[in-house]
Symmetry: C2
Subunit: 547 residues, 2 copies
């Protein structure tokens, strides 16, 4: 039915990117690559022939600096190597038979029994913005016959390189052993901030679902987990100073909360993968659930002269609001090692403020009558200052900037709507670092494979000086969870977020045929690792996954 | 971000059904009902108070006719009853404490320790079109104090009634026991054919994924599994007479095939749930994968005077084609007990036929030069006759009818595109039974909850006489699998297909607030049974499922 599905879509959506028409033919639409990494390395040179990895023999050998990050990564990637083989086993041929076959194959160069890991500088402990992720990887290259070497100045580069190494492995036709092409890779990210936002307020996600997102992020070299932890609908974040917030604000305080112990666990799990955990406490809007645990925090809305029982944004004229925020943020900054904190600031509803006579009186006395963005400015500026007094740097959603709030130079403006190019030009022209999500909203669905639209988005594509371009830190794929919970999270995010991941890591890619084929392999790779990723390119199958 | 997601969608998709704007407020958007069945029964009367079911004590008691269908259903539904309780356990209060509490509750009427099952006529063995699914269910009704009775003239009605009974159970606030409202239900389906189509050719689905679809169908009172088993991309159907078809046509003949044993297993699993398995062997188009195993079956396409190496539909001018089809269909009719067989007939590409001089010569000699639908007619008529000679009734996609092919009166026309109302009027005016899928394509996605669009579709909504209306057999939700495999099947189909299921079972429902609330409960019900169903109505959570 594809043809007509597609045509009807053309009418329905005026777009049919993924499900573009192909003449009917048997077999898959896209033939996967074999042993091609995602995201694509900056430089990859293939030499003649391949080496064979025998998973039970193979070892990682750390010959310079070492630390828990590397040791833990070794355990993870041994598992991946074995999985790659195990999933492949169909018909076992004997080791000897295999040996004989390879000996006969002129492309067979050697057995590769170890990957040497050379970290040239002491390990860092915590990932951070602008951490060094550069690495070099050589496998049976002319200068390194029969051996493999991964080098980096930074433990983060080592982690990225280990990921790439395991992605280079491909399964022998008979499914009895792993091969790697002789090759040399020099690689580093295009942007330092490559994030995934997860909204755990509209729906709650149990810890395992979050940890699996981190596994998948590592497999895509993403390095920021933006935890949109609370919002209007529920408040699962457990605060020590204000326990009432989750007691009253969570969907279920006994089952639908993130305790401080669980949060530390997520942070550690992410750290081991070189992923920063960036918390967001969005205010003054999007705070309905905060009000349940903290009566008096939100602005009472009036109809006429009486409160109508509903509440608006955080009440910006009460000193108690700022006392609370000071204490609340101090606790958060202590809990999350990340230097940055996201303060939100999006979609502030002015109607409720406008209905409240106390607010209006306050605005009058401050000579800002009628100008609610000025009122918002008063609030946000105190919030940003509070954060910087806690020596935290802030991110805010673009409205804060659009409304003309004066912000510290280092405050990052997070773009999520409107004309991305214009907004990027404006934000960077005023010297603010910028983060892009406008084109990476994973909750925007289209029939058919719609990851191309995410792939086409380029944060560098705006009019600006080199200095302005350098202010673009990267971007984030956003999984708002109005219609997502643990039942559909993984296939909704993957592989669609992988499109953003490659765009943010690799140099701009043009050849969609090559990208499609690499994506096809990557989807099977993710599923092989137990990450449910949905089909990317239409009809097909994963050779070694039996669904 | 919902507001703006939604507005941008209005621009993007010109529709924003599910994700319609709600004023921000804490908590879920939709509060689930408690113990309200989906689909909605034809008649439900609630009486005062409730009875308490103690799962470990509770039994089904068969007091009239009995058979394997009922015995198997009892085992399934005991499990559901226990699941309902188990998932609920949070804080155990002692039985005595519970007893005391209920004794104090004037709404508590009695413990319900059994459901009496009265099947008034001998069991039938196989489900079929127009089987009787009517049932009556009384629970602590005035004429039945402290007891519960399920009666039906048909075992199929008993199955539907047992499903309804378990859906009426709701968990005691403390999560320690199950309650059922005193009530009386008289219920029957609006349409006899309530199907789900699964395309196992674009992607292969392992048996467990198919069996779980059948579990979910039972939970939605759907009764036809339309198995679109083969198509252009792959041929997973194992034929005894023509093993080459799957050997060459499957994605992987060792892992991606449905053996005859597996197919019988699916048929039996479905039979136990009162679900017919309707096989489709779509031809003459959509047969690219057939050609791999049967050289000579498909029409060779020509460019100029030479074959260009590509193939078109089944070659309609070769007697060998019909010899094959005769033998192939005979085998299928023997394997599938279902009286109906779906012969496809959609999207036949005439270009290849037009390029082939043998075809053109044949058409000339039959005085149908230029009229390719006449050529299609020759093919389809022989196919339909072959089926009826095997005493099978046929379904065909609407093009066959649209192209004016003369069909036997009882051939069902399956509507999937264009103006549904006009098509229904035309098809039924000519006395053909009709089946509707046009508005239930599950591969058509929209951001936000989009099940309302499926729910609004009404197969009765066309201009026609009562006689014409009676010719509408029902409909099918279609899961074409270009972009679906086992990684995302379940949350893609559920709860969206449930909208079609209720439309096809219940009287037309208008109050969307009530429907939303019942759907909210139903989604949690499905997840509690282990069926991954995605959120239907925006932010919220399942009380007793911890994701």
């Amino acid at each position: 039915m594809l043809v007509v599905v597609c045509t009807s879509l053309l009418l329905l959506l005026a777009v049919c990117s993924g499900a573009r028409y192909r003449a009917p033919s048997p077999g898959p639409w896209v033939i996967p690559t074999v042993g091609e990494p995602w995201p694509k390395p900056q430089q990859l040179v293939n030499y003649e022939g391949y080496v064979v990895v025998r998973p039970t023999v193979f070892t990682f050998e750390v010959t310079r600096e070492d630390c828990d990050l590397i040791q833990e990564a070794m355990k993870r990637y041994y598992r991946v190597v074995l999985q790659t083989l195990d999933r492949g086993i169909q018909k076992r041929t004997s080791r000897r038979a295999a040996d004989k076959r390879w000996r006969k194959d002129s492309r067979f160069k050697a057995y590769l029994d170890s990957l040497e890991i050379q970290l040239m500088a002491p390990c860092e402990v915590l990932p951070y913005l602008h951490m060094d992720e550069h690495y070099e990887l050589r496998i049976n290259s002319p200068d390194l016959p029969g051996a493999a070497l991964l080098t980096s100045q930074s433990v983060w580069g080592i982690l990225r390189g280990m990921e790439t190494f395991t992605q280079l492995l491909w399964l022998d036709e008979t499914g009895t052993a792993l091969k790697v092409n002789s090759s040399a890779i020099m690689d580093f990210p295009r942007y330092p901030h490559r994030g995934l936002l997860l909204d755990t307020s509209r729906h709650f996600f149990p810890l395992p679902a979050i940890l699996q997102m981190l596994d998948a992020m590592e497999a895509n070299k993403m390095n920021v987990f933006h935890w949109h932890i609370v919002d209007d609908n529920s408040f699962p974040y457990e605060s020590a100073a204000f326990p009432q917030l989750s007691k009253k604000g969570a969907y279920n305080p006994r089952t639908h909360v993130y305790t401080r112990i669980q949060i530390r666990l997520v942070i550690e799990y992410a750290r081991l993968r070189g992923i920063r955990v960036l918390p967001e406490f969005d205010s003054p809007g999007h705070t309905q659930s905060w009000g349940l645990g903290l009566p008096g925090l939100l602005t009472p809305c009036y109809s006429g002269s009486k409160p109508d029982g509903t509440y608006g944004p955080v009440d910006p004229i009460q000193e108690t609001s700022y006392k609370f925020l000071q204490k609340f943020l101090a606790e958060a900054v202590e809990l999350f090692p990340e230097k940055y904190i996201h303060l939100g600031g999006d979609e502030v509803d002015f109607d409720c403020w406008a209905s409240n006579s106390d607010i209006l009186r306050f605005m009058e006395s401050h000579n800002i009558t009628g100008d609610f963005s000025k009122l918002e400015e008063i609030y946000i500026q105190r919030l940003v200052n509070t954060a910087s007094n806690l020596s935290a740097s802030s991110l805010v959603w673009q409205e804060v900037f659009d409304n003309g709030v004066i912000l510290p130079q280092d405050t990052v403006v997070h773009i999520w709507k409107g004309d991305m190019q214009k907004e990027l030009a404006k934000v960077t022209a005023e010297g603010h670092p910028a983060l892009v999500s406008q084109c990476w909203y994973l909750d925007h669905l289209e029939s058919g494979g719609d990851w191309h639209k995410f792939y086409r988005c380029d944060p560098d594509n705006f009019n600006g000086t080199e200095a302005q371009k350098r202010l673009v830190m990267g971007g984030e794929a956003c999984m708002w969870s109005e219609f997502v919970d643990a039942s559909n999270l993984s296939p909704r995010v993957w592989p669609r977020a992988a499109a953003a991941a490659e765009r943010l890591w690799s140099t701009v890619e043009v050849d969609f045929d090559e990208v499609d084929r690499r994506m096809e392999e990557h989807v099977c790779r993710l599923n092989r690792r137990g990450i449910r990723a949905q089909p990317a390119n239409g009809p097909g199958y994963c050779p070694y996954i039996f669904y």
